[in-house]
């Protein structure tokens, strides 16, 4: 897990009963990309973060936030 970024992707997916593959298809990335973002080993680009925010209809800060040091 990276030390700087936390995310709520898994929670948001669960609320909408979506699999990683479903979300990946909506965003236009691979399932592996979604999986590695969720566990914190891959930092998404700004474009991907904004696409996720648009899809979930929430601000980006509700999905990603800096970890408390």
């Amino acid at each position: 897990m990276t030390s700087e970024l936390e995310n709520r992707l898994k929670v948001l997916r669960a609320e909408r009963n979506m699999s990683q593959s479903d979300l990946a298809r909506e965003i236009g990335v691979s399932r592996k990309t979604i999986s590695t973002i969720e566990v914190g080993r891959f930092t998404p680009s700004t474009v991907i973060a904004l696409k996720m925010a648009r899809f979930f209809k929430v601000p980006v800060e509700e999905i990603f936030k800096l970890a408390e040091s």
Partner: protein, 194 residues
């Protein structure tokens, strides 16, 4: 993997074993029973980005095979002549496998990756696989440089036990093997589908 049970209403009772591997479907009729069991090893609904992942894995598998070919060419300078034929057979086998993998990669690209977004899918670091490829290339570059420095210190200007071709093949093997091995190690940690 998902298992689907369906009771056949008709008199004909079959079991289908359907393995969805890399997009190809293998169906075998195993034996007759009261239920139709359909195994699906992987989801058949893959996005274009997922197909890019598969395409990359095929390419790097081909790269690994090519590295072994270079290793065999280097090994020909180290073994006795009586074993050359075994190396030749191994080389031809690997070359055939390489040809098949490259053909599969070309087929995969044109069959499953749409032309509309191909530049974005293949080159953008938005996808994890391209990020892994960049990191693997860095690792390979560093290791190959270290290997070259080692080779340079071991070979003297006036005396070298082996011809230049040997060292070139060793370097090519090391570069390709480290590149492909790094890629698979970095990529393979995230197989779980949650």
């Amino acid at each position: 993997m998902s298992i689907e049970y369906r009771k056949r209403s008709s008199a004909k009772r079959l079991i289908f074993l359907k393995i969805d591997t890399l997009g190809f479907h293998f169906e075998n009729f195993l034996y007759h029973c009261d239920y139709v069991i359909k195994f699906e090893a992987m989801s058949s609904k893959k996005s274009s980005a997922d197909h890019v992942d598969i395409h990359r894995k095929i390419l790097f598998a081909a790269m690994l095979v090519l590295s072994f070919i270079f290793a065999l060419k280097s090994a020909s300078y180290l073994i006795e002549e009586q074993y050359y034929n075994y190396l030749k057979i191994g080389g031809y086998t690997l070359a055939t496998l390489l040809f098949m993998l490259v053909g599969l990669a070309i087929f995969w690209k044109f069959r499953f990756i749409p032309g509309k977004n191909i530049s974005y899918l293949m080159n953008s670091t938005d996808n994890f696989v391209n990020s892994v490829m960049n990191r693997a290339s860095t690792i390979s570059w560093i290791l190959t440089f270290i290997a070259l420095v080692f080779i340079m210190t071991r070979t003297e200007r006036d005396f070298s036990p082996f011809p230049t071709e040997f060292y070139l093949n060793i370097t090519a093997f090391f570069m390709l093997a480290s590149f492909s091995a790094s890629f698979f190690i970095l990529f393979s940690n995230w197989q779980r589908n949650v």
